[in-house]
């Protein structure tokens, strides 16, 4: 019944194109493929089945198929049919936009009119408008097994819609375009077509993605007075699947969170490194599109070059092929893509490797067919060979992912693309070759479409080359006489693979005949082969190194756990009224400090002898830029909408180095590129935890402001002379303007009238409501006084001035305003505005009763903040106890977290450091650093880890050398560069 119905439809289709080059000559016959092993879907396989297609669609599939008379039938006995693959993250046939020409000043405003205010938001783009069928690329992709791609314009943050294209070799785009608005694509990369500065950072991009959503909601309600074609398109695209190019495990998590904020579950294009954070990846509940670009081994032959390879890069080579199988084992739904591969031909070998590393073949097939089809909502049309689907299928010699399998044909919407002729005679094997009285051993192997030959005589290998076209074999090999450059050439029409015979041309030009007879390998070799076959189903014989947390140098094999610990007989710097207690015990339990006293009983606690040692609360760095993937959003003079929490980088090795310096909590500040910077992140340095878990729970809201040379771009060169403000005069006006606008916004919001949610102004309103605390980068007294006066006008208080190097000049005014200070111990002379910076600053501020902290703003100095606090003793004579508070309790107060951290007090978080000596002595070292009762740094473990890393690197080096010897491709060692951020890092 179904069959009749289907054929009925195609019969009823009506032509409307004129025809002037002949008579109407279309074929609407059937094709039947019989006796095949038919894989209708990854989970449904039918032996001895028939596939019947017509007009590009599957008419019937299964065992009992009636074959109509007008059918071309192909007998596929012993062969398999699979649905062709689908790649939904493709740029096939889409022209890349042209790069905007450069200019001698930055561009802050949009280039376009009637669109969104930001050029990088282009939901109005449709891939179909930039698309032209690329026959060569289509052929390459088909040969990799793909039949359909969803292509898009890979340009911009919001990139508009994609198009579903069938890669049929014949026909026109009229039949190839299966859908033209098939998904919306997004990323965090700007369009190359515009030089508009904003966003300059990942956190700017994430903020912008949120804001576009809010703006689109508002626009949809008809509240905009002007036309915005971008927002209109965005609203129109809302019903489509949203595919987000994240590109790395960390970005997967970050962008999934952005999606959560705007009620959108993105389909996430991953980075292939998801195995490193698999639990968090799983918790996103997202569907992923996963590239399988596995790195080549490094060429480790030169020991000096080899020594520059990092453990994480070496591990990546070892571990990355397990990514698909790890995703599978965790029940994460994913599609595979050609994206990230240089050539489509790399796809199948890499996939086979992934299977070797544990990926299930059914899951692999689903990732190439039903999953991508399902993501696009096209399960009834592509991805299976169910009746009514497009006739997109592969004919293979065996199981699709077997290395020995040949893919003969890839049919796309009923059009045949032959890769290797099914009639090709398989001449692979071993032969005894006789030419002009000489006997050679000939071995033919390789792929059917690309044969390889080995010719030997008397166990000497001769150079040779083989090819086969249309059943004609041509074989050339060098003559035995190596002093000459001459060749024997053979040519034969192949009829039977058991016996090859034909014509030979000898080096002297004379013609003769040759004869080659297939020989069976001896029995012992055969059993080796059989063994190889068995091995294929097992896990690979390569050693896969365990993943650590984080998966790099100094990572933990297992995440460390909270402990019950009793420190005996220490000198304890309480930072409380008790002062410095000698010969004192501290008990830590359930992450808290539970007892401080003498002769405490251990109970079930692990006892740590701290005789002669000192215990302090963990150091808190009020001003840090480590553990983040971005510091400045410099694309605008205000960026209150961005937040460092979006870009916390839990893999930064500086977290570990900070722990080794006794640091437990840091505030990651936005940089100082603009008067109103971005929101900060306060994190605990829980090495091995995900970015989200680092964030200090219950931390108050904070934001960075900045004054002076950086915000007026004084040291950015002549290029940057166009952004307001360029003087301190202008800086004040930026604040007055923004807070005036924020006030108006708040009034509108409170009025109950409809309003456009504005992330930037929301943040400023929080400041005015004293719900968000400002840390302001500041140097000279005039600007310090200015900002306090602006705050007074808008009735809020500045929380902290950071740097505040001329604070000593205005300490009285600061005291009156109620602001704290977080300063350098002794930095100066690096720019003009620090001319009057003095190392006595902290002492004077402290003496005037201002809560004063010493901070780092520097990844190196932050691991020596204990020494920096000692400088306050040297410069200005502050007592040691008070100076110590400047790196512990005082920053805790400035961050409003002193109820939790900052002193050794019963009930506070057990964030503590065990020092080998007086904590402020230059001779002191942190021996153990705890956060919430968990030991995150331990000198003894550090030593063991160094040894283990050395061993692991050595093993990996050997494995890479072996890989090279096996003939695998290698690449030169690339030395990893570390990025270190400061306030003014752009």
């Amino acid at each position: 019944m179904l069959f009749c119905f289907m054929s009925g439809i195609s019969l009823m289709a009506q032509d409307y194109f004129p025809k002037n080059d002949g008579v109407k000559a279309e074929s609407h016959s059937y094709f039947a493929f019989t006796n095949a092993t038919l894989h209708i879907s990854p989970t449904e396989t039918i032996e001895n089945a028939t596939l019947l297609i017509k007009d590009g669609k599957v008419i019937a599939s299964g065992k009992k198929v009636t074959i109509p008379e007008n059918t071309t039938t192909t007998n596929l006995e012993g062969k398999h049919i699979y649905p062709s693959f689908v790649d939904i993250y493709s740029t096939f046939g889409v022209k890349k936009p042209e790069r905007a020409s450069s200019s001698n000043s930055p561009q802050y405003d949009a280039s376009r009119e009637g669109y969104y205010w930001n050029d990088h938001i282009k939901p109005e783009q449709n891939a179909i408008e930039s698309y032209a069928f690329d026959s060569k690329m289509a052929s390459d992709i088909r040969e990799a097994g793909f039949g359909v791609v969803n292509t898009h314009i890979a340009d911009g943050i919001i990139r508009g819609t994609g198009s579903l294209i069938a890669l049929s070799p014949n026909g026109t785009d009229a039949s190839r375009i299966l859908a033209d608005r098939s998904a919306q694509y997004l990323s965090t990369s700007k369009s190359v077509a515009s030089r508009q500065s904003y966003p300059t950072s990942l956190m700017g991009a994430t903020a912008l993605l949120r804001q576009v959503n809010y703006d689109a909601d508002w626009y949809a309600k008809g509240l905009s007075e002007t036309k915005d074609r971008s927002l209109e398109a965005f609203n129109k695209n809302k019903g489509l699947v949203q595919i987000m190019d994240a590109g790395s495990k960390m970005n997967d998590l970050r962008l999934d969170k952005v999606g959560d904020d705007v009620n959108t579950q993105y389909v996430i294009v991953g980075g292939g490194d998801e195995y490193e954070l698999i639990n968090e990846i799983k918790a996103t509940n997202a569907t992923f599109i996963i590239p399988i670009n596995f790195p080549d081994a490094f060429d480790m032959e030169d020991p000096i070059m080899a020594s520059t390879a990092s453990l994480s890069d070496m591990r990546e080579w070892n571990q990355k092929p397990i990514n698909p199988s790890v995703l599978q084992k965790n029940g994460i739904s994913f599609a595979l893509t050609l994206h990230d591969l240089k050539k489509p031909s790399q796809f199948m070998p890499n996939l086979q490797k992934a299977i070797e590393y544990g990926l299930d073949e059914t899951v692999a097939l689903a990732a190439l067919t039903t999953v991508p089809a399902g993501i696009l909502g096209k399960s009834n049309e592509i991805g299976t060979l169910k009746v009514g689907s497009y006739a997109n299928f592969l004919i293979t010699s065996g199981k699709i992912f077997d290395k020995k399998t040949t893919v003969y044909e890839n049919w796309v919407i009923g059009n045949k693309h032959e890769i290797v002729s099914m009639n090709t005679i398989d001449i692979r094997g071993d032969y005894e070759l006789k030419v002009a009285e000489t006997t050679y051993d000939l071995k033919i192997d390789g792929e059917l479409s690309k044969l390889k030959s080995t010719v030997k005589t008397e166990s000497r290998k001769l150079g040779s080359k083989i090819s086969m076209t249309d059943d004609w074999m041509a074989l050339t090999f060098s003559s035995v006489d190596t002093t000459k450059q001459d060749f024997v050439r053979l040519s034969a029409k192949i009829i039977n693979a058991a016996n090859l015979n034909g014509m030979a041309i000898l080096p002297n030009g004379s013609e003769t005949t040759f004869y080659a007879k297939k020989v069976e390998k001896d029995a012992s070799k055969k059993s080796d082969d059989a063994k190889d076959d068995e091995d294929e189903d097992k896990s690979p014989d390569v050693k896969i190194f365990p993943i650590t947390y984080p998966n790099e140098a100094y990572g933990f094999a297992e995440k460390p756990k909270q402990q019950t610990l009793l420190f005996k007989n220490a000198t304890v710097w309480t930072n409380e009224a008790e002062g410095i207690l000698k010969n004192t015990d501290v008990l830590v339990k359930d992450g808290k400090i539970t007892k401080i006293g003498t002769n405490l009983s251990a109970g079930n606690a692990t006892v740590i002898d701290a005789t002669g040692k000192h215990i302090t609360s963990g150091i808190i760095d009020e001003h840090s830029h480590i553990a983040t993937s971005a510091v400045n959003e410099s694309g605008q003079n205000s960026s209150a909408e961005v937040t460092i929490e979006d870009v916390v980088d839990s893999d930064d090795v500086n977290i570990y180095r900070n722990l080794a310096g006794g640091v437990t909590t840091i505030q990651i500040l936005h940089g100082s590129a603009n008067p109103i910077g971005g929101r900060s992140a306060i994190i605990k340095l829980k090495w091995g935890e995900s970015a989200q878990n680092l964030i200090f729970d219950e931390a108050p809201k904070t934001i960075k402001f900045a004054l002076g040379e950086n915000v007026k771009q004084s040291n950015w060169g002549d290029y940057s002379r166009t952004r307001f403000p360029q003087t301190r005069m202008g800086v004040e006006q930026v604040y007055i303007d923004y807070f005036t606008r924020a006030k108006a916004y708040d009034a509108l919001k409170k009025s109950g009238k409809p309003f456009r949610k504005d992330l930037e102004l929301e943040t400023l309103v929080e400041i005015m409501n004293n719900e968000r605390f400002i840390t302001c980068h500041s140097y000279v007294q005039s600007e310090i006084n200015m900002l306090m006066s602006v705050a007074d006008q808008f009735d809020f208080t500045i929380n902290t001035f950071t740097h505040i190097l001329e604070g000593y000049k205005v300490a009285d005014k600061m005291k009156a305003h109620g602001v704290g200070a977080s300063t350098f111990s002794d930095w100066w002379a690096y720019k003009y505005e620090v001319n009057d910076a003095i190392p006595y600053n902290a002492a004077i501020l402290h003496n005037q009763g201002i809560v004063t902290a010493i901070n780092s703003d520097d990844a190196e100095m932050s691991r020596r903040l204990n020494q920096e606090s000692a400088k306050v003793v040297k410069y200005g004579g502050v007592s040691e106890e008070e100076a110590w508070k400047m790196v512990t309790l005082n920053p805790a107060k400035l961050l409003h977290i002193d109820n939790r951290v900052g002193s050794v007090k019963v009930g506070k978080d057990a964030d503590m450091v065990l020092w080998s000596d007086h904590p402020m002595s230059i001779y002191s070292k942190a021996e153990k650093t705890l956060i919430e009762g968990t030991i995150y740094f331990d000198v003894d473990r550090d030593k063991q880890t160094r040894d283990a890393m050395k061993k692991e690197k050595n093993e990996l080096t050997t494995m890479m050398l072996q890989a090279k010897n096996k003939g695998l491709k290698t690449k030169p060692v690339v030395k990893k560069e570390e990025l270190h951020f400061h306030c003014d890092t752009l």
Binding site: I304, S307, T308, S310, L311, S312, A553, N654, Y656, R657, A660, E709, S714, N715, Y808, K809, A811, D812, D826, W827, W828, A829, Y830, K831, Y832, V834, N835, D836, I838, Y840, I844, N847, Q848, A859, E860, M861, R863, R864, Q867, A870, K871, V873, K874, Y875, E880, M920, S921, I922, Y923, S924, K925, D942, M949, P972, V974, K975, K976, E977, E978, H980
Partner: protein
């Protein structure tokens, strides 16, 4: 009675020292001075407790333990205090750069690839506020070095209390500075190359350029020297042994190549400056007797995998291998030079005994720079360039100077910064 006298004298000295005009160099020593009762850190690894240190006419005449005849001398009671030889900052930008970000105040980096004739000394600004901020921490001498290009120019060594560069100089044109080609170059990402570091293809060529320069200059110097070639002329000192070659290089391969380079070109005095990976080539360094001026230990490990304390313990590794080590400051910001004592202190925290750590900024540096005949230790015959500290000068808590002398002249420990400190402390007192 005698005690009272000393006490009064001491107070008088303090008062008079604070009345010194800022930046006014101290006047010539006219009377013998004895520092009595301090722990003397000689700078060669020795300590003399309860010492008597005497200096006259700018030179140390004796350092002994216990009592000595101090009659007719100005006696400084330094009981419980510590006396040190003035610290020496190698490879500094002092006096050449005032404010890093202000181009007009930067005279360290001349253009040109091979410019040994460019001399740092004549640009040295004795009135620099950065220079005066060194002295309160005990940094009393510095090598002032040019930067940039391949051969950057010629450095000189100065004392930090002078009217002009002429009287500042304690060793003029001490050495020539060569920036060794880097083994790695950055991928030109704007041309589509992968970012990150990869082997520098030009490495051998760049070394050849220097070799050619050396060969050509030697040929020139053997001839009639016409027409005059200023860069070649400036190389003379390297070949006759009167100047040292300071090769700025950090990586293993570069260090080894630089050593063989110097050997092949018959350059007698080679100093490795930087040497972050010197720990990988200790045998060669020892065997060739090449000293190393290491980077300030207050730097981060060179890569993710490196021990977190590698920069802290590098001095120990080299020291244990028998290499002469000093600390240089070229990798730090200019103002950080005043933290030189704490760089040595950090090395002590990570393995070197304190008095050996002190050598990293005193006698070893003096040896490496070739000024050990008159500087670097508290020994008779040497310049009386020294200071008294309340406590251990390598620890910031106790590095509190009470008096300092350069060539016997008592110098001001005041600065722009101490003046502002006093001025604003007064402001609040009077409010």
């Amino acid at each position: 009675m005698k005690h009272l006298y000393i006490y009064i004298l001491f107070i008088a000295l303090l008062v008079s020292s604070s009345s010194f005009a800022q930046q006014t160099p101290g006047s010539k020593q006219t009377k013998a001075i004895a520092i009595v009762g301090a722990t003397a850190h000689i700078g060669n690894g020795q300590i003399i407790e309860n010492s008597v240190l005497v200096f006259e006419n700018g030179k140390i005449t004796s350092v002994n333990s216990g009592s000595a005849n101090t009659s007719g001398m100005t006696v400084i009671d330094a009981k419980g205090k510590h006396v040190y030889p003035g610290f020496i900052a190698a490879n500094s930008a002092l006096g050449l750069v005032e404010v890093d970000a202000v181009r007009a105040s930067d005279d360290q980096n001349e253009i040109g690839a091979m410019i040994p004739h460019v001399r740092s000394l004549i640009a040295y600004n004795t009135e620099s506020k950065v220079v005066e901020s060194m002295r309160p921490n005990g940094v009393l001498m510095a090598q002032v070095s040019p930067k940039g290009g391949r051969i950057s120019g010629t450095s000189s060594i100065v004392q930090l209390d002078a009217w002009n560069w002429e009287d500042a100089s304690i060793k003029t044109d001490d050495g020539i500075h060569l920036n060794w080609p880097s083994s790695f170059s950055r991928g030109r990402w704007w041309l589509g190359e992968p970012a990150g570091l990869k082997p520098n293809k030009e490495y051998a060529n760049q070394i050849n350029e220097v070799t050619t320069f050396i060969t050509d200059s030697k040929a020139y110097l053997k001839g009639n020297k016409k027409p005059k070639h200023l860069p070649f002329e400036a190389m003379q000192g390297l070949y006759n042994g009167s100047q040292k070659l300071f090769v700025h290089v950090d990586d293993e391969k570069g260090i080894a190549d630089a050593i063989y380079f110097a050997k092949n070109n018959n350059i007698e005095h080679l100093v490795i400056v930087g040497g972050a990976e010197a720990y990988k080539v200790t045998d060669l360094l020892k065997q060739q007797n090449v000293p190393v001026l290491i980077n300030t230990p207050h730097t981060l490990p060179a890569n993710d995998d490196q021990d977190y304390d590698m920069p802290f313990k590098l001095a120990k590794i080299l020291h244990d291998a028998g290499i002469v080590v000093g600390i240089q400051v070229g990798n730090a910001e200019n103002f950080q030079t005043r933290n030189l004592p704490f760089f040595a202190g950090t090395c002590a925290a990570y393995g070197i005994v304190k008095e050996e750590a002190l050598k990293l900024i005193t006698s070893n540096t003096a040896k490496i720079l070739g000024i050990d005949s008159f500087a670097g230790t508290l020994e008779a015959g040497k310049d009386a360039t020294l200071f008294i500290s309340e406590g251990d000068a390598l620890d910031m808590r106790t590095n509190i100077l009470t008096q300092a002398f350069i060539q016997g002249r008592e110098i001001s420990l005041e600065s722009h910064q101490t003046e502002l400190w006093r001025r604003y402390s007064e402001k609040y007192k009077n409010q």
